[in-house]
Amino acid sequence: MDAATIALVLVPVLILQVGLMLYALYDLFQEDRRVRGDSKIAWALIIAFVNLLGPLCYFFVGRDDSRGAETGGMGSTGPAAASIARILDTWPRLAQTTEAAVVTTNLTKRYGGGVVALDGLNLAVPSGSIFGFLGPNGAGKTTTLRLLTGLASATDGTGTVAGVPIGGAGGELARNIGYLDQDPRFYGWMRGRELLDMVGRLHGLSGTALRQRVGEVLEIVGLTDAASRRIGGYSGGMRQRLGIGQAIINQPRVLFLDEPVSSLDPEGRRDVLGIISRLRGTATVFMSTHILNDVERVCDRVAILNLGHLVVEGPIDELLDRYAQPVYELEPEPQQAGSIDRLAAAIRGQTWAGDVQTTPDTLRVFVSDPGVAGPAILPLVAATGVSLVRYERARPSLEDVFLRLVAESGPPIAPAVTVPAWGLDGRGRR
């Protein structure tokens, strides 16, 4: 072979082979690139030493575009309240109606092996409400959301969302709802704007209307500045906000959010809850969660689910009035450990005393009859020689109600309780 032939035939082969390898290595060591197995060195060795197949395997198997950056160091900016309010003012308001936005009748989901994930759920979520769907892990919350969004089929029972039967074909349900998964992962290679653009097109938007809507949604979720970045480089909070963005791009009548804040840091939670609050009036929000402080901040009504059964449903204030045991909080002076133990024991011995929770700083005393307990507590404090910094009758929290009802409903109960219409369950509880 002469030099010309070598140049002609071998150089292109060499360029292709080495070029592909170098390109794969360059791609691998990009700062925000994540790989399966989390070992870039291992992939570098595969690319460099597994002839030709190495780069191929890397591009097809190695890159993990589903995960983003773990920290929020991408300059994310929280939503700006004034401009969001201005945008949402232009969005269509939900019509005043007495019809429920979400209705389920005996909705049931059984899996193979006799597992009952959801057992005869009867629910009516008022239109326009922000509805908290609560329950411990494994209660059936995600199953319910998947049934209501058409991602799974009910074994038994029926339901409607925005008047559209669930489980139907043709996309009518999808056109009326928005949905955010528990741990949203998007296409890491896409840019934020592109994802919203794609979802908008699936909803039939195009041209100027699409561009305007995408811009509005980016503003609402506070991602305007990050819209041109790869989603693979987004932090968890940014991904969650993008998830809400894709869920509201069609101005849905019902928005389903599955644990929208559970994986976020306090700042991310504040941002996401702010967005949810601002959607009041434009959509019925159905939000599953187990972070009860957040529910109290944004929700009007809640339902508590346990072991696939509805335990209770109603407005938060009415549930608190009805189910929260009165609670007294006592904050002793420091350095009284022994006296505090004696006080707690003395209170536990009273007939009116329920649970007595002690922390290093406070005693929380749940009582059955505040009329009797109120006058009786301070004499016990004096008798045990405890000095107090603070003594008050505290407002019971939704967490107190939740923990009590979930504990009581361990085994299946029936029928479920709706406040205020139905009263109490058949076991004689309040």
Binding site: L16, L20, L56, F59, S66, L151, G204
Partner: protein, 256 residues
């Protein structure tokens, strides 16, 4: 199919942005070049090595258009099937695992459109790669040999080889739909490759297997009469349609 166009654009954009199209195309171009190169210079290379070492000699046939065609077809089909498996293996399984399938299918997009967009995008990627690979193979044959393949037959060969790869992509897509594991999906594709290979040597049905399309493809490339290929071609077209139907039936009721 509701949402097909939007999803197809997304799939094609994904092939580009994840560098898969570039990687597959580079591999096909490489093997398109290497085919005629190998045939043209292998004998010279072996003879040169034999004369330097002194004493041993290996009988290698001299360069010929038949040999170059055979090399192109063998290289591109072997690596093409591998690429088809790689392209199809994670296409649905990973989307189910990550939850992106649920995100998309909670929108006005049908499951049939979701699957069809993937199959069409993979087929187009393979189509581009086959075109480039065969194109460079033809160019190098033109440079290295005094005669060249008849163009029409060469194009027909490329088309047959592309469709054979589409069959394997469709099988892997089915595997990716049936399982949540991309590796299992690739395994299903490999098993299908073995089954088709065994069935290919059986009388009557053998000619209809996708892996058996290589023989008529070589005949077409070299300007020879491939015999009756309408039946096998139609069978493999129907096979892709049937595989897609089964994939859709499996995916239609899956919980996401």
């Amino acid at each position: 199919m509701m949402g097909f166009r939007v999803l197809l654009i997304k799939e094609l954009r994904e092939q580009l942005r994840t560098n898969r199209l570039i990687a597959v195309a580079a591999v096909f171009v490489l093997f398109g070049i290497v085919g005629p190169l190998t045939d043209r210079y292998m004998k010279q290379l072996i003879d040169a090595i034999g004369s330097q070492r002194g004493g041993f000699s290996i009988q290698v046939p001299g360069p010929s258009l038949d040999g170059a065609g055979g090399q192109i077809l063998k290289n591109l089909s072997q690596f093409g099937i591998l690429c088809a498996l790689l392209l199809g293996m994670g296409s649905v399984a990973w989307e189910k695992e990550r939850g992106t399938a649920g995100m998309i299918l909670a929108k006005p997009a049908s499951r049939a459109a979701f699957l069809a967009a993937k199959l069409v995008a993979i087929s187009l990627t393979l189509g581009v790669a086959v075109t480039l690979g065969c194109g460079f193979g033809y160019l190098y044959t033109l440079l290295l040999y005094p005669t060249v393949f008849p163009l029409a037959g060469y194009l027909a060969m490329a088309l047959l080889m592309w469709w054979m790869l589409v069959v394997f992509a469709a099988i892997t897509l089915l595997g990716s739909t049936l399982t949540r594991s991309a590796i299992a999906a690739a395994g299903i594709g490999v098993v299908a490759l073995i089954v088709f290979g065994i069935a290919g040597v059986l009388p009557v049905i053998g000619d209809y297997m996708p892996s058996s399309l290589g023989a008529p493809a070589l005949d077409l490339m070299l300007g020879r009469d491939p015999g009756g290929i309408a039946g096998p071609v139609l069978f493999n077209v129907g096979l892709v349609v049937a595989l897609f139907g089964v994939t859709w039936l499996a995916f239609r009721r899956q919980e996401l």
